[in-house]
Amino acid sequence: MSTPFPDRPASDRLAPGKPAIPRWKWLLGAAVVAVPLLLGIGLTRDPSYIPSMIVGRAMPEFSLEALSGDAKVASEALLGKPLVINFWASWCVSCRQEHPLLVQLGDRADLFGEFGIVGINYRDSRQAALGFLDREGRFPYASGLDTRGRLGIDFGVYGMPETFFVDAAGIVQARQVGPLTQEAVERNLKLIGAGR
């Protein structure tokens, strides 16, 4: 049998060893699928989320003026058992959402003593903070004033509310960005050895 198109280059002819669809077309097709897929996955991620640097490290020390005007709220006095540190502010809308859960958590800490809990009133005024607690209900635990947000920088805080879970050795084990949920509380308390 003679070759059907003698004037065409040999590379254009179908040879038995050559696939019908050349490799570069497969590669191009794969890229056409992969690029939008990767971009799509990127869209589902929250661009404002900042991974915590403090998880796995020692909790920063602090000694803050108390919201109540009583003794200072100091990290020294809180160490020795698992600790929950909640950053909150009167101007923070989603803080209202987690408020009842925090009050409940404070009562539980009081009753069972399996962990300590402290609030950090972040970039707020005492007056506004007390007004907020009058409306929403008092925390059964002390809050320290971080009026300028300096301690917030030490903790790498970027949004309100944020909650840190510190184990008895003073190592931060978890951070929750945004309002707490019952499920998040239980999961993170277990991480610091205070779960049930």
Partner: protein
């Protein structure tokens, strides 16, 4: 009256102008701006801490000034913020670790595109050369072929 007032005001302005000296900037302010421009505001995502109006950014500038006053170096100060907010706080990613990949990808893509371009040009040139050969005049069709093609 109006004129006299205006003239007086003008005279006063002219006289007062050289009396008010230009306020000179503290020498470390240039450094505050230089380092501040490299730090990203954690609250507002794509602004540096100098441009940002947020309280967090202002407090970060206050920290920056304090640390400069303590004689800390730029690397130390950037390290201070990095240990709290991670690489996120740097507006240009570091050239080591995963950040290095980000810096490497554009030149690699450019090189790959160049390679593909050269390959295509070569292939086209080859095809053109072949086509040139193919269009060389050939012997006219013989009787038998003509009849077969029913021309």
């Amino acid at each position: 009256m109006k004129r006299t007032l205006a003239a007086a005001a003008l005279a006063f302005t002219v006289a007062a102008a050289p009396a008010a000296p230009f306020r000179t900037e503290a020498p470390e302010e240039a450094q505050v701006r230089e380092i501040g421009a490299k730090l990203r505001c954690p609250v507002c995502q794509s602004e540096n801490i100098l441009d940002s109006q947020s309280g967090t950014a202002r407090e970060m500038i206050a920290v920056l000034r304090e640390q400069l006053a303590l004689g800390r170096s730029e690397a130390e100060i950037l390290g201070y913020f990095r240990s709290r907010y991670g690489d996120y706080v740097l507006l240009s990613p570091p050239a080591s670790g995963f950040g290095g990949v980000i810096w490497l990808v554009p030149p690699l893509l450019l090189a790959a595109a160049g390679a593909v371009y050269i390959l295509l040009v070569r292939r086209n040139a080859e095809a053109a050369r072949r086509a040139g050969q193919a269009s060389q005049p050939r012997a006219p069709l013989d009787e038998q072929s003509l009849r077969r093609l029913e021309l």
